[in-house]
């Protein structure tokens, strides 16, 4: 991904409305995303995963639109969109007999297509992705032989290997133990600093508060948008979680604390 | 001098006769089989494979048993065919074995899957099917043409009719006009009035609960049989034994009064083969009728 591309990429949702069956999962959501790390938080059923899927082009909205680089998503070809937006879903039920390396190599699919061959450059990207996600050691092992946490790192590597200017991750910390969660956060920060538009859905508020920007979603609507030290944002967070938490400052960071005296 | 001339004339006439008859049997035959296809044979076939028991019986009845080189696994009459190679059934005829026997002609029924394969291997296949009496006669005549045995065909047919007349005489008067249910299969499949079995039964004076409109061998709703209340039930002995257990069939008067004819497998085969033994089949049926007590109720 070259710097020129990174500078102009923008992802924007305009009055996005998505209905899943009879439920209105997203209601008139309008948000823009730029290079940096944004995290979406909210209670269960808020529509976080739906928003991410709509941004990735996997969910067609009933109203409103998603624009990538000023152009509506449906107007992009599948492959062009895939080279610019990498997406990692929440529950990956993987099948098959692929090795770790073969899985990560799939991340290069948008680049070289179904019939193209992998170049040396592709292999270098794959190596870098596996290094970043800390799974290079198991290159030759099969995905289904790994534990949950190991597998998650491989899937993260697969998303990284797309090397796209937009990186959408739904609950990437699932199955990861704390050291690896921290490593992932540091990785996302590095990517964001390099110009990637990182959007993640995180249920863990402690990690979420480490992001550059938070979006609070509740029942399909945006409740608040702001930096992690924004007081209004804190108020919104406490509100959507039913007053069960307090946001307190610890050192240079903000941290959620369960409010047991409530 | 005149004597030598007349001897010469006789000799020449004899030579002509021999030549003509030789030419006649070497005449290419053309017959149309039941598919509507014309089969041309260079001469009367000397090596025949039969894949249907009734056709086996017909060939033997026409005096050409010696020409059979192979039969299907169900052919069992006459005794001599049991020593012939058994080549499977209609659905699983053994292609290689049949071909290795190098037959001049293969006789089969229409539903034989192997027909196409045999023909692609260059064998001649004659497809014949007999559902009613007219079919049986036609099949017999076709075979007779092929085997150059037309005289025997007439003899076979008149024997059938002769045996049937004897059978008719054996049938007691109280069975005339009575209604019969002839079961071919426990599904139940019946032999209707339009089948060769039904026609034989008609000759014996019996009416059929299954009318001609339903076809020769229809699959019936069991309720039909119960409502029709036949005066006589004819079936395989094993099937007859379990009939009262069928839903509602215990109510059949014929079953309760014992107005039934049950046949063991070999005797049953005689009844259902549309071949030269139709006359014996009629006699077998008549013998059963003669041994039964008079049916109760009035003839309907």
């Amino acid at each position: 991904m070259n710097k020129a591309q990174a500078a102009v990429v923008s992802l924007r949702a305009d009055a996005l409305g998505v209905s899943l069956g009879s439920t209105r999962a997203l209601d008139s959501v309008s948000i823009g995303f730029e290079p940096g790390w944004t995290t979406i938080v909210g209670p269960n059923g808020a529509g976080k995963s739906t928003l991410l899927r709509a941004l990735a082009g996997l969910q067609a909205p009933q109203s409103g639109s998603v624009h990538l680089h000023g152009q509506a998503l449906p107007d992009w070809t599948d492959r062009e969109r895939a080279t610019r937006i990498a997406w990692l879903g929440q529950q990956a039920e993987t099948t098959g007999e692929l090795t770790v390396r073969e899985v990560v190599q799939l991340g290069r699919l948008p680049q070289h297509g179904l019939f193209g061959a992998l170049t040396a450059g592709d292999e270098a990207v794959v190596d870098a992705a596996m290094h970043d996600a800390e799974c290079s050691a198991w290159q030759t092992r099969r995905l289904h032989e790994l534990s949950g946490g190991e597998r998650q790192r491989v899937l993260i590597a697969r998303a990284l290997a797309v090397d796209a200017p937009v990186l959408l991750l739904d609950e990437p910390t699932t199955h990861l133990d704390p050291p690896h969660q921290i490593a992932l956060v540091q990785l996302l920060r590095r990517r964001a600093a390099a110009g990637v538009t990182v959007v993640s859905v995180l249920h863990d508020l402690a990690l979420a508060l480490l992001a550059d920007r938070l979006i609070v979603l509740d029942r399909g609507r945006v409740r608040a948008v702001g930096r992690s030290d924004d007081a209004a944002l804190h108020a919104a967070l406490i509100d959507v979680f039913g007053g069960a938490i307090r946001i307190e400052r610890v050192g240079s960071r903000w941290v959620p604390v369960a409010d047991l005296e409530r | 001098m005149t004597r030598s001339i007349s001897i010469w004339r006789r000799a020449i006439a004899l030579c002509w006769l021999v030549a003509l008859s030789a030419a006649a049997s070497a005449q290419p035959l053309t017959v149309r089989d039941d598919r509507g296809i014309e089969i041309t044979l260079a001469a009367s076939p000397r090596r025949i494979v039969s894949l249907l028991p009734s056709l086996t019986e017909s060939v033997c009845a026409l005096g050409a048993c010696a020409r059979l080189v192979g039969v299907d696994r169900f052919s069992n009459w006459p005794e001599s065919v049991r020593t012939l190679p058994q080549l499977g059934g209609l659905e699983d005829a053994q292609i290689e074995r049949v071909t290795a026997l190098k037959p001049d002609l293969v006789l089969a029924a229409p539903s034989a899957r192997a027909i196409e394969r045999f023909e692609s291997l260059g064998l001649k296949v004659l497809v014949l099917e007999s559902r009613d009496r007219a079919d049986v006669k036609r099949t017999l005549n076709t075979l007779a043409r092929v085997l150059d045995a037309s005289a025997q065909a007439a003899a076979v047919w008149s024997k059938i009719e002769h045996d049937e007349r004897l059978a008719v005489e054996r049938v007691p008067a109280h069975w005339r006009g009575r209604r019969v249910y002839f079961e071919v299969d426990a599904t139940p499949y019946a032999a209707g009035a339009g089948s060769f079995i039904g026609e034989t039964l008609a000759r014996l004076g019996l009416a059929n609960i299954v009318p001609i409109e339903l076809g020769p061998f229809p699959k019936l709703n069991p309720e039909f049989v119960v409502r029709a209340q036949p005066d006589l039930v004819i079936a395989q002995r094993a099937n007859l034994a379990e009939m009262p257990r069928r839903a509602g069939w215990a109510g059949l008067r014929a079953l309760r009064s014992g107005s039934t004819c049950g046949f063991e497998p070999v005797a049953y085969e005689l009844l259902i083969r549309p071949g030269p033994r139709m006359g014996e089949a009629a006699q077998s049926l008549a013998a059963c009728l003669a041994a039964l007590p008079a049916p109760g109720g009035a003839a309907r």
């Binding site: 080279t83 990692l88 039920e93 098959g96 799939l106 991340g107 | 659905e91 229409p110 699959k219």
Partner: protein, 339 residues
């Protein structure tokens, strides 16, 4: 230095190759006298060889391999497409469509006696059971695709396939109740047999393989991407509906051709990909080809055994594949429970 994986793949390939060659030769010696090299030698000397060996044994042996290859390929495609190791290539209405078409042809020829115009009936009968089975398989799959409203969702596709299968089977029963003779013929046809394979049948099977294999193999990487899940595959730029349509098309073609020549033969399509996965797990580029080769070898072995075990009679080849396949699956389950 080839990796362990590559070694295993190469080993499987060479073993399949030698086994196939050996079985092809063995097939020439299996005949109505059972399996006997001496019998083959005698036949060759008798001058009968061209007919017996050349016209009957050879095409049957080769045809068994080709049909097995089609079934193995279809099985691998089905299991990859539906992401289910128990997927059977006869899904999606292909088997029931072929069955119904066969019954219709058989019934047409028997219904001639019931007043159907002879011209119509013989035209249908001339189409032959083979053409009917092929057309029926394709029509069955088309009906499934229409019912599932295009290949949008895999679960809907599977469900539609089940519904179509049941509907067409009911239709088949309806026809056979009107023309009972057709029932026996249909059961025999669908029982599955390699016994009627001629050189023209081999040509048809080979054509089917040449038409179905390349497109399926080209899409192998898409099947790999599918192992990550449908959403992940879509996020990588794959158009799933087009992919499904192409793969289902290849599947229908392979099954249609195979069923039209050999009827329904169980287990080959199901077991072949499992065997490949067991001995040489690999991405789909290798697995599709290896499944075809394994399916071919499997059916070839079953055919040679079918002819040799109780000669001059034959064990129905479908029974052997079911026994061999079923036994293998049982063993697999047993091992999994131990592990």
């Amino acid at each position: 230095m080839p990796s362990l994986d590559q070694q295993r793949r190469r080993r499987l390939a060479t073993r399949l190759g030698t086994l196939t060659l050996a079985l092809l030769l063995a097939g020439l010696a299996a005949g109505s006298d059972g399996w006997s090299i001496r019998g083959l030698w005698e036949t060759l000397q008798q001058g009968d060889a061209a007919l017996i060996v050349g016209q009957i044994r050879a095409p049957r042996t080769l045809g068994a391999w080709l049909a097995g290859a089609l079934l193995g390929l279809a099985g691998a495609v089905a299991q990859g497409l539906f992401r289910n190791p128990l997927a059977d290539p006869y899904l999606l209405g292909s088997a029931s469509g072929a069955s119904l078409a066969v019954v219709l042809v058989l019934a047409a020829s028997s219904l001639t006696g019931h007043g159907v115009a002879l011209a119509t009936a013989s035209a249908v009968a001339r189409l032959g059971l083979v053409g009917a089975a092929f057309a029926g398989a394709l029509l069955g799959v088309s009906l499934t695709l229409i019912l599932a409203r295009g290949a949008e969702q895999t679960t809907r596709l599977l469900l539609a396939g089940v519904v179509v299968g049941v509907l067409l089977a009911a239709g088949s029963d309806l026809v056979t109740s009107a023309a009972p003779d057709a029932l026996r013929g249909k059961q025999a046809f669908m029982l599955g047999s390699t016994g009627f394979l001629s050189w023209s049948a081999c040509a048809v099977l080979a054509a089917g393989l040449l038409l179905a294999l390349p497109p399926a193999w080209r899409l192998a990487r898409a099947l790999d991407a599918l192992t990550l899940g449908e959403d992940a595959a879509r996020s990588l730029g794959l158009s799933l509906s087009r992919l499904r349509a192409a793969l289902v098309g290849a599947l229908a073609l392979a099954i249609g051709v195979a069923v039209s020549q050999t009827g329904l033969i169980a287990f080959v399509g199901l077991v072949a990909p499992h065997l490949v996965r067991r001995f040489a797990p690999a991405p789909h580029g290798y697995t599709l080809l290896a499944s075809a080769a394994t399916g071919g070898t499997l059916l070839l072995a079953a055919d040679v055994l079918a002819r040799s075990l109780i000669a001059p009679q034959e064990v129905p080849v479908g029974v052997l594949t079911a026994l061999l396949g079923g036994a293998y699956l049982l063993w697999l389950l047993h091992r999994r429970r131990m592990a």
